[in-house]
């Protein structure tokens, strides 16, 4: 295994809810290396999304350490985190989270806007990303003119357009029918084969089957962390 991108130890996330403490994550330690393909599974409320947000530098832990590419995330300012998210992380959400008023192309260009890429280069790179997800014929369509599967492919193009270190997907097939879900999973597999690091959350065994490594969470703890024999 190559050098780790993600090194988490003893991670705790605790929410304050009306004086009551809710532990979303208790003592999670995990290391994920480059070009891994990891599925995170577990029942609802087990802390999968919380862990994903943590991995994606969207949220900060209550305690524990997180080294991203060898750098201590706790030391980072808000803007440092924004920069990491911009350059190193590609998010794919269950509900796509595209900007409704922007075209597919503009949605894919957006991360590049925040890294200050020039207009022509933005256009070129976004077009190439849309080529990778087979959507060049829908570039000028707005999200409400696209099917669920197409929307998710736009979201994946947006996630890979900056060539990030990892792609994080939180239930990417959760809002799609089985057939479309398979297409999307094929896409992730393709990205992984092309050298990307992919981490995805799912509670469908069928989906998790694609991954090389399966981490199971229960009540905010890692229940098991196994190599998938099927893949």
């Amino acid at each position: 295994m190559s050098h780790p991108i993600i090194e988490i130890s003893n991670l705790v996330k605790c929410y304050e809810m009306g004086g009551e403490e809710v532990y979303a994550l208790r003592d999670v330690s995990v290391t994920i290396g480059s070009n891994e393909y990891v599925a995170i599974m577990g029942p609802s409320g087990s802390g999968k999304s919380t862990l994903m947000n943590m991995l994606g530098c969207l949220d900060t832990p209550t305690s524990g350490t997180y080294y991203f590419n060898g750098e201590d995330v706790r030391e980072m300012t808000d803007d440092d985190l924004a920069e990491i998210r911009n350059r190193e992380i590609g998010f794919v959400f269950q509900t796509f989270n595209l900007l409704p008023r922007a075209t597919a192309l503009q949605n894919v260009e957006l991360p590049l806007v925040y890294s200050g890429v020039s207009k022509t280069e933005r256009h070129d790179r976004a077009t190439r990303a849309l080529e990778q997800v087979n959507l060049t014929d829908r570039m000028t369509h707005k999200p409400n003119e696209l099917s669920g599967g197409q929307r998710q492919r736009v979201a994946i193009a947006r996630a890979i357009v900056t060539a990030p270190s990892i792609i994080l997907a939180d239930e990417p097939t959760g809002n799609l029918d089985t057939k479309t879900g398979h297409d999307i999973m094929a896409l992730f597999r393709h990205l992984w084969e092309a050298g990307n690091t992919v981490i995805l959350v799912t509670h469908e065994e069928d989906v998790a089957r694609h991954a090389r490594r399966i981490i199971r969470l229960r009540d905010g703890r890692i229940e098991s962390d196994t190599v998938n024999p099927d893949a």
Binding site: L58, D59, R85, F91, L99, L110, S115
Partner: protein, 420 residues
Amino acid sequence: MRRSTEIAESIRIAIESLRMNLLRSILTTSGVVVGVVLVVVMGWTIGGLDAVWEQAISIMGKDMLYIDKWSWSGGGNWRLMEARKDITLQQAQLLASRMESAECVMPVVRLWSGSVVRNNTSLRCGILGTTNEYGQTSSAELSSGRFFTSIEDYHGAKVVVLGEGVAKGLFPGEDPIGQTIKIISEPYRIIGVIAKRGFLFMDFVDNQVVIPLESFRSTVGLFERSVSVGIKSGSERMLDIVRTEAIGHMRAIRSVPPGAVDDFSINETQAFDEQVKNIRIGIWIVGMGLTILAFIVGSIGIMNIMYVSVTERTKEIGVRKAIGARRNSILLQFLIESSLLCVIGALIAFPFAQLIVGSARYIAVDLLEQDWASVVSPLIPLDLLMIAVGVSIVVGLLAGLLPAIKASRLDPVEALRYEQ
């Protein structure tokens, strides 16, 4: 590089979101619209006032001083001035001979309620007696003929220069030069006509005739008539020196004891400037008060709508943050949106302001036939428009600041979980 792509993106988003909520946006800007209309109309009014005033006082001559028993600007104690001794012709001539710094000095005597007669037509007008130096002042720019010479003055020649109003009144459609009129039963030959100068409350200057001082003495008489002395300094720079010298001589000539106040007045255009300054300040205070009020109301509206916009777009803000927007990027986005909203307000306001300004001038000049108002520009000057746009951008930035800060500080995870 990053800044400029972000600004371009922010402007694109702002225009898009304003277009989405066009009616709401336009209604929101109404306070700003009123504010901008007020700023522009106020600026134009002050500019117009200045133009009118400039025109009015230029009649007196900006490089002129007039020593007189009376203060023309209405300042000072009327009773005290009444009690002053008249300025005699001898005193005026003495001053003229002693003045060194002035370009020229001329005694001027006036009969306010005189009249002139042509054949059987009589016209009431002022009669002014002075020396030939008067011909060098801006008060005596001729439209035809010539002014009288020092020789004609010396001999008391019966020659007259008409004001434009008198020429028009007695010789409609005719050339008056060479013709004869009677001033108090003495015939005078017309040698020149002074170009129209009258303006607003100064239009009496066109309704007078000018004759040599010596002729005035023999035809009208100097008995019980206070003389005023016109002093031409030659340039505005010289005014202070000339004024000081004239006061010194005049006090000596009229034997004013040291320490006592002058028993004469120095009249000059500068004194009138003080008055117009007060009017300007008045307009400015009232206008500014109304404008600030309108902008405060306007910015509260803008602030509200920006808060609504931030709430409506919480999810969008979450998405932007998730893909790498920094706090300042979000801040910038909303500040640009709020200032763009205000600039749109300004653009909506301009036609209204122009309509008000244009109608005001049209009513004054064309309907009420107030010629003086024609020196005021019918268009809002460009610099005023720029100022208005600048002010509305500032108002937009201020009004948008709190909502934009709120947006920039949203927690990305919570923003992403937000559902409408």
